[in-house]
């Protein structure tokens, strides 16, 4: 089965080609959507087969490399089109194809009647193919193809409603910010390649070979530089400070896109990449610290913004940024498997949340359309009381919200608590640990608050729609609710494969599963072990309890403010108008970036256009032409057009030449 791994990216590619080339002619939405969904579902089946086979193998034999064909062989440089199957990539392909299939199915219902239906499915398939290449690539170049491919698809899908200027702008913003990150990725790649080649004559971009040679890497120094560059790439793709502002704007795309690309898969590519090269990252304590600090800062920063947004999808977008911050925090404290675990549970509950919000928007849009209202279908201030009209959406949404808030028994609790515990008890950061844990805990409190604020504003209380519009609210069709139910189910039970050892009811399958992948990194990491404390079980239980209390506090505040005493938010805003304005306007980050980066760039562009291009470049080109024209303006008078003039000139010339020879 391992041999058939190349089928996994091939199916979505076929789907892309069929829908992309012939979709316009097929026209039938069922056929187009069916092809797209079937292709990714076939990939899912192959992935399941690979997973089953891998479970049956002993841990040492779970790495397999499949060379499809030699790609670039030039001198010392060698890169094959090859796939790496190991426990980490299997988890990723299961998430991508599994969640991807559900979201494809959902899209059939959600995108019904949209113009360019076939275009949507073609892009979605292309995205799945790129993402699968990214996680399956056995060397950095194949990974980079996927890395760029998902960026391109993200651009295409954010700009799906390209006739809207805001969508086009958001697409451009996402693409440009990703490019900044990709630049870092490339520099990191070159540095690592060059260092291994010039110092040890190991010219390779292959992950397995780099892993085998990673004991040669020094601690710090060049590794810090290379890993920081890779991290810049990760911040771009995974929307971390400072390159996070594109993700909230990316909500201009259709909701399934937000669920698949901007929550479940693409934005986790940075986390995956750090996991894939964990043995490089742990060699640099500085980089680990930067990752942990950036992760924690992003987690709290995005969470605060999420508390004041009114657009349902924007809240979820900031929540995604914040949760990605948690994943990076996990990576930065050396809790790689916890980070990947949170990646997985987050894929379940956040995809469910996005799809649920899509279902809500769908219903709202329909209801508002029926009464010819121009109100915003995504604004939570127009919603309220939806739980009666949409019971399935409400239930799945509530379950996922509980999961993300970290209530015991739901998936998010296991992964988030593991991260918080590891940020407290890791061996890497010494005294910084307590700060990292504190920030993480506060961010978790904010998470519980803004998520329940969203639920209360959307599903509870009285409907703020006009009574006429309210009658048109109804539950979404089955293609929408089935994925919701499956994902909601996973959001509950997905966590049980990674229960902490402490609880002892089930072994932590997830961590054991990933052990072979992160073994080496943990070994390198143990060099720092003397910094680390060895907290007791009592502390672990205590912190776990504390994080539950924190989550409950967040929920309680949300309940008080948005259900019990609904006048409180207004009072709060009146008391702290400046604070509210700052948070509502996302701490003015976009404005600051505009001022610091965008406007100087525009000014430089203006100068180079008006000053350099028009004056210098065009000046030289036009100047040459003008000089030639000036001379020809003088010389053209020689062409009188009279035969005797030419004849006379000729005769004169002959006389002059003869005269020269005769009288020389």
């Amino acid at each position: 089965m391992f041999d058939k791994v190349w089928l996994i990216p091939l199916f979505p590619l076929i789907g892309f080609l069929i829908n992309g080339l012939f979709g316009k002619k097929i026209k039938n939405e069922t056929v187009i959507g069916g092809i797209g969904t079937l292709m990714i579902f076939l990939s899912f089946l192959v992935s399941c087969g690979i997973l089953m086979q891998m479970i049956g193998l002993p841990p040492e034999q779970r790495v397999f490399e499949k060379v499809l064909f030699p790609w670039i062989h030039s001198g010392n440089f060698k890169a094959d089109m090859a796939f790496l199957v190991d426990p980490l990539s299997v988890i990723m392909i299961m998430i991508i194809t599994g969640v991807g299939s559900l979201i494809h199915l959902y899209s059939i219902g959600y995108m019904h009647g949209e113009e360019g239906f076939y275009r949507f499915f073609a892009y979605l398939n292309l995205f799945c193919m790129s993402m699968l290449l990214l996680v399956l690539g056995s060397n950095m170049l194949v990974m980079f193809i996927g890395w760029e491919g998902v960026g391109l698809c993200s651009y295409l899908l954010i700009g799906y409603y390209f006739h809207k200027k805001s969508a086009g702008d958001a697409a451009k913003k996402a693409f440009v910010m990703n490019r900044v990150g990709d630049f870092g990725f490339l520099i990191g790649l070159f540095t690592l390649y060059w260092w291994f080649g010039s110092n040890h004559n190991i010219w390779t971009v292959n992950f397995t070979e780099i892993k085998a040679a990673s004991h040669l890497l020094p601690y710090g120094g060049v590794v810090t530089f290379a890993s920081l560059c890779f991290f810049v790439g990760a911040t771009g793709k995974s929307a971390q400070i400072p390159l996070f502002t594109w993700l909230p704007d990316a909500m201009e795309g259709p909701t399934p896109v937000s669920a698949l690309i901007h929550a479940a898969t693409m934005v986790t590519a940075g986390v995956y990449m750090i996991g894939r090269m964990s043995f490089v990252f742990v060699k640099s304590p500085e980089t680990m610290m930067v990752i942990a600090v950036v992760g924690a800062a992003t987690a709290i920063f995005a969470a605060t913004i999420g508390t004041a947004q009114n657009d349902i999808k924007r809240v979820l977008a900031y929540s995604t940024v914040s949760q990605l911050g948690f994943m990076f925090l996990a990576m930065g404290v050396g809790a790689f498997s916890a980070g990947i675990f949170h990646l997985m549970t987050h894929a379940f509950f956040k995809a469910c949340l996005f799809l649920g919000s899509g279902s809500v928007i769908h219903a709202m849009h329909h209801a508002l359309h029926k009464v010819h209202s121009n109100d915003d279908a995504q604004d939570m201030r127009n919603m309220g009381g939806l739980r009666k009209a949409m019971p399935i959406t409400f239930l799945t949404f509530l379950v996922s919200t509980i999961a993300i808030s970290g209530i015991p028994g739901f998936s998010g609790f296991f992964s988030k608590d593991e991260i918080l515990w590891m940020s407290f008890a890791n061996a890497y950061h010494g005294d910084l640990n307590i700060v990292l844990w504190g920030i993480g805990a506060i961010a978790a409190c904010f998470t519980a608050f803004y998520m329940f604020r969203l639920v209360f504003m959307t599903f509870f209380g009285e409907s703020r729609l006009s009574p006429k519009a309210k009658d048109h609210l109804h539950e979404s069709p089955l293609t929408i609710t089935i994925p919701l139910m499956v994902l909601g189910f996973l959001a509950v039970v997905g966590g049980y494969i990674g229960m902490p050892k402490l609880m002892g009811m089930l072994p932590n399958y997830f961590e054991h599963w990933l052990d072979p992948v992160f073994e080496l990194a943990n070994e390198y990491g143990s060099k720092y072990a003397h910094h680390g404390a060895h907290p007791s079980h009592a502390i672990e239980w205590g912190l776990m309890g504390l994080s539950v209390v924190i989550a409950l506090v967040g929920i309680a505040i949300a309940f008080t403010m948005y259900v019990k005493r609904t006048e409180l938010p207004g009072k709060f805003v009146a008391t702290f108008p400046t604070l509210h304005r700052a948070v509502y306007n996302k701490w003015y980050i976009d404005e600051i970036y505009d001022y610091v980066f965008v406007n100087p760039c525009k000014a430089a562009g203006q100068f180079l256009w008006k000053g350099f291009d028009v004056l210098v470049i065009d000046g030289v080109v036009n100047g040459v032409a003008n000089v030639v024209m000036g001379f020809s303006g003088i010389f053209r008078y020689m062409q009188s057009g009279y035969v005797y003039n030419y004849a006379f000139t000729m005769a004169l010339g002959v006389v002059v030449m003869l005269g020269y020879y005769v009288f020389k």
Binding site: G641, Y642, V643, A651
Partner: protein, 100 residues
């Protein structure tokens, strides 16, 4: 050949007449005939000098010149006829569209 000079003088006079004719006349056919006159003046010089120097090269040249002149006459007359077909004139003053 004591009187080589007289041949050369006749030849020079013929060449000058031809040149002046080419420069001053407007009628294409007259210009054409003047060119023939110039060519024949040159031929005369060749023959005279060939005889004077006892070398046949000059006479061979004259054969060539006459061949070229015949070809030139054919082409030149064809041009004049084509021009006349277009403009109803053989006046070289009218050949003036290729100027500034």
């Amino acid at each position: 050949m004591e009187n080589l000079n007289s041949y050369l003088i006749v030849s020079a006079i013929l060449f000058a007449i031809g040149t002046i004719g080419v420069l001053t006349r407007r009628n294409a056919i007259v210009i054409f005939m003047c060119i023939e006159l110039m060519l024949n003046a040159v031929n005369l010089t060749f023959i005279a000098l060939s005889r004077h120097l006892g070398n046949l090269d000059g006479q061979v040249f004259v054969i060539f010149i006459m061949t070229v002149a015949a070809a030139e006459a054919a082409v030149g007359l064809a041009l004049i006829i084509a021009f006349f077909n277009n403009k109803e004139s053989i006046d070289v003053e009218d050949v003036n569209i290729m100027k500034w």
